[in-house]
């Protein structure tokens, strides 16, 4: 089972609440943004219980494809997406429910004796640091790389999800050798060719990264033109062409 990171005081308390709730006959609602660890925490409360997405389960109930007697406890993900939450919960009466939601649900608030509000990663710097280290270590192992934190632009728009994604992507691209990079590009271009793209359309996939990197490294247009050994007028034209992407 994936571990719920507990390096901050808040997440230690949260795990403690989850463990205490585990043995009690009450429903638990886990509230938090996308990627804060709601599903992982729910598995700390109900270890081996079946997991359903709320919309899928609601649909099963409506179509009489769900036999309530087979379950004593359930994890329900994204209960905020259930269409008729009150009726949905009534149909599950008698089953211990641990549900996740991205927002407070006042209409079924009293059906959950325990509510756990997980703060976003940006408010848990100790957890964020640990999570970054874990993801970098795992990614480095997979890609046989030695990428460090300073090489990565952290993205917390979707908390752990976007963080993991950006770390794996960065490590993957940094660790590629020439052949792997060309293989990757070849695959990418093949897909684009299926969309009937022409030479001119595809050129931007080479030129934008090249100009971005050169701009970052050489700063001035004069330096860029000199080092890349291209005409300054040609360079200026290219920079104007891709001005939006290079901003």
């Amino acid at each position: 089972m994936e571990k719920f990171i507990t390096h901050s005081e808040a997440s230690k308390k949260i795990l403690n609440i989850a463990q205490m709730s585990s043995s009690l006959p009450v429903n638990v609602l886990i509230i938090g943004e996308l990627g804060v660890g709601k599903t992982i925490l729910s598995k700390h409360i109900l270890h081996d219980s079946p997991i359903f997405d709320a919309r899928v389960l609601e649909d099963m109930i409506i179509k009489n494809n769900f036999n309530k007697d087979e379950y004593s406890e359930l994890i329900i993900l994204n209960i905020d997406y259930a269409l008729n939450k009150q009726e949905f919960m009534e149909k599950l009466n008698g089953i211990k429910i641990v549900a996740t939601t991205s927002q407070s649900l006042y209409e079924i608030d009293t059906l959950f004796a325990i509510k756990i509000d997980i703060p976003p990663l940006s408010e848990r710097p100790e957890d964020l640091k640990e999570l970054i280290e874990v993801y970098i270590e795992k990614a480095n192992k997979i890609y046989n790389a030695e990428v460090e934190l300073k090489d990565i632009k952290i993205d917390l728009t979707q908390n752990g999800i976007s963080l993991k994604k950006v770390i794996y992507k960065t490590v993957s691209s940094i660790s590629m050798d020439d052949n792997e990079m060309m293989d990757s590009l070849e695959y990418f271009i093949s897909k684009k060719l299926e969309e009937n793209k022409e030479y001119r359309d595809l050129l931007k996939y080479f030129e934008i990264p090249l100009l971005k990197a050169a701009k970052e490294q050489y700063k001035s247009q004069l330096q860029m033109a000199t080092r890349l050994n291209i005409n300054r007028i040609t360079l200026r034209k290219k920079l104007e062409l891709y001005s939006k992407d290079l901003a």
Partner: protein, 229 residues
Amino acid sequence: MMKDFYEELIENDLNPYLLFDSNGKVKSYNKEAEFLLNFVSIRELFELAVSNASINFGFNQKYISLKYNKQSYYAILVGYANEDEIALRLYKVVSNYTTTINNNKLKMVNIFSLIDLSKNSTLLQSDLIIDELYDISIPEMKININDFLLCLNSCFEYFKDDKKISLQVQIKIGEYEVIENKKYKIVALSFIADKKVVIDSALEQKASKANANIFFNQNELLIELPIIM
């Protein structure tokens, strides 16, 4: 004979009755008033009567919400027949205190675990400081866990934005609650804050569902729960 009968009727009435002289001294009162005077001063009741008396001699009824200790009142009657006497009668709200226990929903549990759980989950992002004084000799007891947690959550929620409260949990000495002819000891959870506490009927209903009674007085919120073993 007839007069005695009326006097007896008033004496045994479930609603408190008091007769004051013009200086606010009590000239007579019934059994319920005697009980009421344990929780409210004579002066306060006299002022209540005077401030609600009719302008001229006569009787004045007024629907007014009052609460003294555990008892609520929904109306008063002020009788004012001469310059020397004024009478006050208070009308009780029908009590909704626990009279039955639903055994099916009770589960043996440590009350302090539930307090901790409710406190930690409700106050996760609060800076409230709680001075705790717990009588740890309180044994495990049967509690309707779900409803008791909902009640506790609302209590902690009520104090969430305060700086500091104290919470005392102890067994009430010498007091019992009688439910279905059985005597139960009482565990009391007393929340004391720096503000005047006022609770709404929704919280009273939550407490009632959890077999508990809830009261407030000045800056104290009190939950009383029978110890069912």
